[in-house]
C-alpha cells in the first residue's frame, strides 16, 4: 500500500500517536480487514470512510482491543503493543464513543461519566472531586455539561457529549468516534464539529468514522478510505473532492435517487386521519396525524428518530391500536382490522430493522418468502403451505431482484445485509400491492444495492403503487418523495415540496425550530 510509504516520510517530524500496520482480521469464511494501514497523529482529526460492511467497525474494534488482529501490528507512541481487552486500550489512552450510546438513563451525567472509574475518598464516591474534574473537562473542550442532570432528560447530542466526556475522563488521548453524526440533525453536527476542533487544538487525536463524505471533507485533516476491508488511500481534504472520495470508496459511479416526472394520480389509496396514540407516561406518541397517499405517489417522512416514525408505521400496519383517528385503505376503513388482514389486502411492509422484523434469520429463504404472505395462494394457504411453490417463488425473487445466494435453501442469516434487504423488498413487491410502507429501506446496505432498491421503488411508483417512505437519509427522502412531511414530537410540523427544500430547512423543522427564513429555499442542487 502506497500510503504506508507516505507515512514513513512524515514520521520524522510528526510521530504517530497510534499506528496500525498491515492489519488483517479474518472471521470464519470472511476476511474483514486485509493489510490495513492507519495512523493518527497528535492534534489531528483523521477520518476513516468506507461503505457499510467495508470493515471500518472491525478495524476500530481491533484498535479498541475488542478483537485481536490475525496479522499486523499496533504501536502506541512508537511502542509495539498488544491489546487483549478494551481495558488495555483505555490504559494507553485510547477511547471509543460508540454509535449506540452506552449510558444509564436514570443516572446523572456525573454518575455516568465516572461509572467504573470513580474518584474515591475512602470507600465513598468523591462527588466533589468528580464534579470538579467534569467541570474542567467541560470548560476546556466546550462540552457544556451539567453534571447533575439525569441522562434521560438530555437530547441525543448532549448524550453524545456525555459519551465523549466519559472517554476523556478516563484519560483518552485518542478518541474513536463511530459514525457520530448518524443520530444528529445538521445543526447538531456543526456543534459536534466545533467540539472536535477544540479537542484537536488541545492536542488530542480524533479518529472519525463516517460514510458521509461532505462531513468528512469539512472536519478531517486527513482521510483514509477503506474499501472491501483494505485501505485504498489516505488523502488530504484540501486536494480532494467529494466525488473523488466517493469513487475511491465504491470504486465506481455514484447512484443518485432522482425521481423522474410525477406519476401521482388523484386516486387516494391510503388515507390516515387524525391518528393519535397516547402514552402512559409523557407526551403523546402521535398527535392528530393526517395525510393521504395517492396511487403513484411516494410520501416521505423526515424526522429525528424517536419522533413518532415507528409508531406511525405500526399504526398503518395494524401493529398498534389507535387512541383516536382512522386508517382507510381504498374504500375500506381498516382501523379495526388485524395486521394480517391488512397485509393480505395488499399492504407491503419493509420494516426499519430487517433482522428483527422482516426475516427469520435461522430459516431458509423459501420460508422467509412465506413470511407475511403465508396465507396467500399459491405458496401459502388458509390451512396448508406449499414448500415446493415457495421454493420456486424464492428462486424467482432471487433472479428478479439480484439476490446473490446459492439457492432457496440458504439460511437468511448467511446473506449480506444488502442481499437480505433485496430479498425482503422482492418478497413484498412480488405480490400485488396497493400500498407499501417502507421504513429506512436502504439503511445499512451498500451503494450498489441502494441504487437497486431505489430503482425498484421508482418502478413501483410508476406502476401506481402508493408508498409511505420513512427514512433518516435526507438524500433518499428528497430524491424519491413526491410529498415530504416532517415529524417532530409525534406531530406533523411541516409539509414540504422536496423540489425546493434544503437540508438546513429540513433540519430546523426536525429539531422543532421554525426556520427563521422559511421563505424561498436555496438551490437544492447543493445536496449532492
Amino acid at each position: 500500500m502506497d500510503n504506508a510509504d507516505q507515512d514513513v516520510t512524515v514520521e520524522d517530524d510528526e510521530p504517530a500517536v497510534v499506528q496500525l500496520t498491515g492489519i488483517t482480521k479474518r472471521f470464519p469464511g470472511v476476511v474483514a480487514n486485509r493489510d490495513v494501514h492507519l495512523d493518527a497523529r497528535r492534534g489531528e482529526v483523521h477520518a476513516v470512510v468506507g461503505e457499510n460492511g467495508a470493515g471500518k467497525s472491525t478495524l476500530m474494534k481491533i484498535l479498541y482491543g475488542m478483537y485481536q488482529p490475525d496479522e499486523g501490528t499496533i504501536t502506541v507512541d512508537g511502542e509495539l503493543v498488544r491489546f487483549h481487552t478494551p481495558k488495555d486500550a483505555i490504559d494507553l489512552g485510547i477511547g471509543m464513543v460508540h454509535q449506540h450510546f452506552m449510558l444509564a438513563d436514570n443516572l446523572t451525567v456525573l454518575e455516568n461519566i465516572v461509572l467504573g472509574a470513580e474518584p474515591r475518598r475512602g470507600i465513598r464516591l468523591d462527588y466533589a472531586a468528580a464534579r470538579r474534574q467534569i467541570r474542567e473537562l467541560s470548560d476546556r473542550y466546550g462540552l457544556g455539561l451539567h453534571p447533575d442532570r439525569l441522562v434521560e432528560e438530555l437530547s441525543v447530542a448532549a448524550r453524545q457529549r456525555v459519551e465523549i466526556a466519559k472517554v476523556l475522563f478516563r484519560g483518552a488521548r485518542v478518541l474513536i468516534l463511530d459514525e457520530p453524526t448518524a443520530v444528529l440533525v445538521p445543526q447538531e453536527v456543526d456543534a459536534l464539529f466545533s467540539n472536535l476542533v477544540q479537542l484537536r487544538t488541545a492536542g488530542l487525536s480524533v479518529i472519525f468514522i463516517s460514510h458521509k463524505l461532505d462531513e468528512v471533507l469539512q472536519v478531517a485533516d486527513r482521510i483514509t478510505v477503506i474499501r472491501r476491508g483494505s485501505t485504498v488511500a489516505t488523502v488530504e481534504p484540501g486536494t480532494t473532492t467529494s466525488r473523488q472520495l466517493a469513487e475511491l470508496m465504491v470504486g465506481s459511479e455514484l447512484p443518485t435517487p432522482q425521481t423522474a416526472e410525477s406519476t401521482v394520480t388523484d386516486h387516494v389509496e391510503l388515507a390516515v386521519t387524525d391518528v393519535t396514540i397516547t402514552s402512559d407516561d409523557g407526551p403523546d406518541l402521535l398527535r392528530d396525524i393526517s395525510f393521504d397517499v395517492r396511487r403513484g405517489e411516494i410520501v416521505g417522512f423526515a424526522g429525528v428518530e424517536g419522533n413518532g416514525q415507528s409508531e406511525l408505521v405500526e399504526a398503518i400496519m395494524g401493529l398498534r391500536s389507535l387512541d383516536a383517528g382512522r386508517v382507510v385503505l381504498g374504500a375500506d376503513d381498516v382501523t379495526q382490522w388485524s395486521a394480517h388482514r391488512r397485509r393480505v389486502s395488499g399492504v407491503g411492509f419493509i420494516p426499519e430493522d430487517r433482522h428483527r422484523q422482516a426475516l427469520l434469520l435461522d430459516a431458509p429463504l423459501w420460508e422467509n418468502r412465506l413470511l407475511g404472505w403465508h396465507s396467500q395462494e399459491p405458496a401459502g394457504g388458509r390451512f396448508w403451505i406449499n414448500p415446493k411453490s415457495a421454493r420456486a417463488e424464492a428462486a424467482q425473487i432471487m433472479t428478479d431482484y439480484d439476490v446473490r445466494a446459492p439457492g432457496p435453501e440458504t439460511l437468511a442469516a448467511a446473506l449480506s445485509g444488502g442481499n437480505q434487504q433485496k430479498f425482503v423488498i422482492g418478497r413484498e413487491m412480488s405480490t400485488q400491492l396497493r400500498v407499501l410502507v417502507a421504513a429506512h429501506p436502504t439503511r445499512g446496505i451498500d451503494v450498489g444495492a441502494q441504487a437497486a432498491v431505489w430503482d425498484r421503488l421508482r418502478e413501483a411508483r410508476a406502476a401506481g403503487l402508493a408508498t409511505v417512505l420513512i427514512s433518516a437519509d435526507l438524500d433518499e427522502l428528497l430524491g424519491l418523495s413526491d410529498t415530504l412531511y416532517v415529524l417532530f414530537g409525534g406531530r406533523i410540523v411541516a409539509k414540504l415540496d422536496p423540489a425546493d427544500v434544503t437540508p438546513e430547512i429540513l433540519g430546523s423543522y426536525m429539531t422543532g425550530a421554525t426556520p427563521a427564513e422559511a421563505g424561498p429555499a436555496d438551490d437544492p442542487g447543493e445536496l449532492a
Binding site: Q357, A358, R404, A414
Partner: protein
C-alpha cells in the same frame, strides 16, 4: 445423496453427544468403583429366556409411548419458545377425567375408546388453557404458572378421584380409585403380535396405544412441516418480532400452541389407562412423564422423528435400571446418563449450529464475494 448427507449432518452432532455422554457415565461408574463394561453389558441385557426378552421389549414399548407423547406435547410449545412445564399436571388431570368419563359410559368398543381419547385431550387442553390465558391477558410467565398448576393438578386429581369419579363399591382398606372402565373402553394389547412375529408373548400387557401414538406423531410431523399453523409456530419461535410484524398474532399463537400442547399431553396417560390400569388410582399412577418429556423434546430437537428416537433411547435406559441394580450399580446411573445426554446434546448442537452458519456463509460468499454478514463476529 445430498439428502443423505444432510441427514448425516443433522444426526452427527447427536451421535457425538451420545458418545460423550457414554464416556462421562463410564467415568462416573468408575468413580463409584464399579466396572463400566459390566454396566454396558447390563444396559443391553434383555434377559436369559425368550419370555424375559419379550417382557423386556414390552416394558420398553410401554415406557416409550408415553414419553414420546409427552415429548411431542412439550415440543409444540418449544417450537415457539413457550415453555410448557405443565405437561405433568395436564396429563394427570386428563387421565383422571378420561378414567371418570370412560367408566361412566358404556358404548360400542371403538366409539367408547374414541370418547375417552377425546375427553382426555379436551381436559388436557382446558388445563393448558389456564396458563395460556394468564399469559396473554396478564403477562404471567407460563413457566411459573405451569409449575404452580402442576401442584394444583395433584390436589385436583386427588379430589376428583375421591369425589365425583370415586368407585362406590370399594372394599374396606382398598385405595381410593375410579370405577373400572368397561371392556369396550379398553385398548387391545400387542401381546399377540409378538406371537405373530415369532417371539414369545410377554406376560404383562403391551400397550396397544403405542399405535395411536405413532399415528399422532405422523400427523404432527405433517402439521408442523406443511400446515399454516406449523409455519406460524416456527416463525414465531424463530423471531417473534418478525412474526408479529408480518401479521402473525403472537397472542393467538400462544393460545393455539398451548391448546395443542395440552391436548397432546392429555394422551400421555392413556397407554397405561386403556392398556392395563383401566382405572385411575393415585398410588399406581405413573407420574414424571411430563418432566422427562421436556428432556425428550430437547434431545429430539422438537422434531417428531427425533422425539420418537429420543423416547426410545430414554425408555431403553429406564428399562435397564433393574438389571443395573442387580450388577450393583445404582439405578441413578440411568438418570445421570439421561441428564448428561441432554446436556451434551445442547452443547454439541450449539457448536454444530455455528459451524452450519459458517458453511452457509462460505457458500453465500462464493456467489457474491462482497458478502460480509453481520453475523460473522459471533
Amino acid at each position: 445423496m445430498t439428502r443423505l448427507l444432510g441427514w448425516w449432518r443433522r444426526m452427527a452432532p447427536t451421535l457425538v453427544a451420545l458418545g460423550v455422554a457414554l464416556v462421562i457415565t463410564a467415568l462416573f461408574i468408575l468413580i463409584i468403583g464399579e466396572n463400566p463394561l459390566r454396566a454396558l453389558a447390563a444396559l443391553f441385557d434383555f434377559g436369559e429366556t425368550s419370555v424375559a426378552q419379550a417382557n423386556s421389549i414390552g416394558v420398553w414399548i410401554n415406557r416409550a409411548a408415553p414419553l414420546f407423547l409427552a415429548g411431542l406435547a412439550v415440543s409444540i410449545g418449544f417450537r415457539m419458545g413457550l415453555f410448557n412445564i405443565g405437561v405433568e399436571g395436564q396429563y394427570r388431570i386428563a387421565t383422571v377425567v378420561a378414567a371418570g368419563v370412560g367408566a361412566a359410559l358404556v358404548l360400542p368398543a371403538p366409539l367408547h375408546v374414541l370418547v375417552i381419547v377425546v375427553a382426555a385431550m379436551a381436559a388436557g387442553a382446558v388445563y393448558a388453557a389456564i396458563p395460556a390465558v394468564l399469559k396473554v391477558t396478564r403477562g404471567v410467565s407460563e413457566v411459573i404458572s405451569t409449575i404452580m398448576l402442576n401442584s394444583i393438578a395433584i390436589a385436583l386429581a386427588a379430589w376428583m378421584v375421591r369425589v365425583p369419579f370415586v368407585d362406590p363399591d370399594l372394599g374396606p382398606g382398598e385405595n381410593v380409585a375410579t370405577r373400572r372402565i368397561a371392556e369396550s373402553g379398553q385398548f387391545p394389547g400387542l401381546n399377540e403380535l409378538f406371537g405373530v412375529i415369532g417371539l414369545e408373548e410377554p406376560r404383562r400387557p403391551v400397550h396397544g396405544f403405542v399405535v395411536v401414538a405413532i399415528v399422532v406423531g405422523i400427523v404432527m410431523a405433517i402439521v408442523l412441516s406443511r400446515s399454516r399453523f406449523g409455519f406460524e409456530l416456527r416463525a414465531t419461535g424463530l423471531n417473534p418480532f418478525a412474526a408479529t410484524a408480518n401479521g402473525i398474532s403472537s397472542k393467538a399463537m400462544i393460545i393455539k400452541a398451548m391448546l395443542v400442547s395440552g391436548a397432546l399431553a392429555g394422551l400421555v396417560g392413556l397407554p397405561d389407562l386403556l392398556g392395563s390400569a383401566h382405572r385411575f388410582q393415585a398410588d399406581s399412577f405413573v407420574s414424571g412423564y411430563g418432566f422427562t418429556g421436556i428432556a425428550v423434546a430437547l434431545l429430539g430437537r422438537n422434531k417428531p422423528v427425533g422425539i420418537a428416537l429420543a423416547a426410545l433411547l430414554f425408555a431403553f435406559l429406564d428399562r435397564a435400571g433393574p438389571s443395573l441394580q442387580s450388577e450393583g450399580i445404582p439405578p441413578a446411573a440411568v438418570i445421570i446418563m439421561q441428564g448428561i445426554v441432554v446436556l451434551s446434546v445442547l452443547v454439541v448442537d450449539e457448536v454444530a449450529r455455528r459451524g452450519m452458519l459458517r458453511r452457509e456463509e462460505r457458500r453465500a460468499r462464493a456467489q457474491d464475494p462482497a458478502t460480509v454478514t453481520e453475523e460473522v463476529a459471533r
